[in-house]
């Protein structure tokens, strides 16, 4: 559906996107994940034909972004970063304008505007001026515009930035529902978003793809096993030694506790659930147990790791 090969963008002296290649299957939702300034927006702008790539190419729905720019743009709906809109227009007027630009006839425009307003919960504000809308509603107007012509491909640049938690949840639900029928690429720097919404994630840092796969794959790829946190009252050294002897425990790391309580972070060996054994050991030693908890590996950890690696690699290779 979307095929990107060796896409590169250079702004003056800055390499913003460096030979990025990936493919997105029809109907899937792909999260473009990366810290600010990683090249997410630039990549999306190239896919939407707003900026031409310095080198490399891409196709959207089978159309080449260079040679068939108009067809590409007909086939995609784009929500740019910060949702730029014309503030002096009413919601309906704006959508009607966008429909005319896309050469939709009057009847189609009317029915599609009804549909997208319904889909994006815009019904109560249809006749309001965009300048009077809250950030959340504006975001939905942008999304409604992107959906207006029922495009096979949706490109959403940070669709949930600036929304409150309820709105974020609603938007994610909506995007989730759009998958299947539409192919969606969304960019974000929020990790839970990818875990909540996307089938696949592409992690980009410093203009390069540093990892890609399903959220599940990414989590396991770096052998980031879960840890068990134990908090109990006892002498630090004894606790550490006792826990290290429990079968299945790989590494013991003592975290800072207060004067009486100590906290240990235990990395279980592959395939072990050590919680029961750990609890028994603590109780047998007579140390009052305050908490025992399994902390599953998060994508967040992974993300921090890869992007930090990337930053390090960059400082190493930079000439000065």
């Amino acid at each position: 559906m979307i095929a990107v090969s060796e896409l590169t963008k250079v702004y003056g002296q800055t390499l913003a996107v460096d030979r990025v290649s990936f493919e997105v299957a029809r109907g899937s939702i792909v999260g473009f994940l990366g810290p600010n300034g990683a090249g997410k927006s630039t990549t999306l702008k190239m896919l939407t034909c707003y900026l031409p790539p310095t080198s490399g190419g891409a196709s959207v729905n089978g159309f080449d972004i260079f040679k068939q720019s108009e067809q590409v743009r007909e086939n995609l709906g784009y929500l740019p970063e910060n949702t730029p809109l014309y503030p002096e227009m009413k919601v309906e007027e704006y959508l009607d304008f966008r429909g005319r630009l896309r050469k939709m006839d009057r009847a189609t425009r009317r029915s599609r505007i009804d549909y997208v307003c319904d889909r994006c919960w815009l019904a109560p504000v249809r006749r309001r001026m965009i300048s009077h809308l809250s950030k959340g509603f504006r975001q939905r107007v942008g999304l409604a515009d992107a959906l207006l012509h029922d495009p096979p491909v949706l490109i959403l640049d940070e669709p949930t930035v600036g929304l409150d938690p309820t709105q974020i949840r609603e938007s994610r639900k909506l995007i989730r529902e759009l998958g299947g029928k539409h192919t969606v690429i969304l960019s974000t720097h929020i990790l839970p978003e990818v875990e909540a919404v996307c089938d696949r994630a592409i992690v980009i840092a410093g203009g390069r793809i540093v990892a890609q796969g399903t959220p599940e794959e990414l989590r396991t790829s770096r052998r980031m096993t879960a840890r068990v946190l134990v908090e109990c009252r006892g002498p630090k050294q004894d606790v550490e030694n006792a826990l290290a002897r429990v079968s299945g425990v790989g590494k013991v790391e003592m975290l800072n506790g207060d004067s009486t309580y100590v906290t240990a972070a235990l990395r279980p060996k592959e395939g072990y659930d050590i919680r029961e054994e750990v609890a028994r050991t603590v109780i047998q030693n007579g140390w009052p147990l305050r908490e025992i908890r399994l902390e599953s590996a998060t994508l967040e950890e992974f993300f921090v790791q890869v992007t930090a690696n990337q930053a390090m690699a960059q400082t190493e290779t930079s000439p000065t």
Binding site: P80, P84, E88, L101
Partner: protein
């Protein structure tokens, strides 16, 4: 072309929601009223020459106000991105915006038709020069709008766009008129000054429709529209 018309429509209706358009309209009609009063005196010939000759001066101030936001604002707010990622060409956008502004400019002129009616009531005016005067002011307006549009495409700042437009309009309109009156002006300078907007426009105001003047305005308008398209396209290689 239908996309250009869609954009023109939007642009025109947006004006009606912006205070700038009303400020410009107010200034224009107020000044036009005073000018007409100079022509509209007992014993004077029933003409609108004064109003036409001075209208150009008003346009030097008003057109930059009307045009400053046309594209600059799209750059500044980022709406250009939504606009250009719809299946439209740069030329659609430029022609659309030009037509939208031009339509507003025509709307600005409509109330001045009252003066024609008043002349007709109190006297027997010669409609020839009045017609050519309107034709001239429409042509000058078109050129000025094209220049304003061009300046607006160069920057994200509406203020910069307005100042730049005023500067260019001053140089091609008021400056030649001003130095044209200097006796010490060398021959070359006088010929150059004669080629500029004001002298060509006064021909229309006098009732002379010269094909050369006609072509001059249309061609320069087209040149500035073309340049605007090129500036818009330049984002691709910047």
């Amino acid at each position: 072309m239908s996309r250009a018309i869609t954009i023109a429509r939007r642009e025109f209706f947006s004006y009606l929601f912006s205070p700038i358009a009303y400020v410009a309209m107010f200034m224009f009609l107020l000044a036009a009223g005073f000018l007409f009063r100079m022509d509209f005196q007992p014993g004077q010939p029933a003409v609108m020459r004064t109003i036409f000759e001075w209208m150009v001066w008003l346009l030097v101030i008003i057109i930059p106000l009307l045009c400053m936001g046309l594209i600059a604002q799209e750059w500044a707010t980022g709406t250009i991105e939504t606009l250009m990622t719809a299946p439209v060409e740069e030329s659609d956008v430029v022609i659309g915006k030009f037509l939208g502004s031009f339509l507003l400019f025509v709307l600005l002129l409509v109330p001045t038709l009252v003066y024609v009616v008043m002349l007709r009531i109190y006297a027997r005016p010669d409609f020839g020069p009045i017609f050519s005067g309107y034709l001239g002011i429409l042509l000058v307006g078109a050129l000025f709008i094209a220049i304003g549009l061009f300046c607006s495409s160069l920057t994200r700042s509406q203020i910069v766009a307005a100042v730049l437009t005023t500067a260019i309009l001053f140089v091609i309109t008021i400056l030649p008129w001003w130095v044209g009156g200097e006796a010490s002006l060398p021959e070359f300078g006088r010929t150059l000054a004669d080629q500029m907007v004001f002298r060509r426009y006064t021909d229309f105001a006098k009732g002379v429709i010269d094909i050369g003047n006609f072509v001059f305005f249309l061609a320069t308008t087209a040149v500035f529209l073309f340049l605007t398209v090129k500036v818009m396209e330049s984002r691709r290689w910047r």
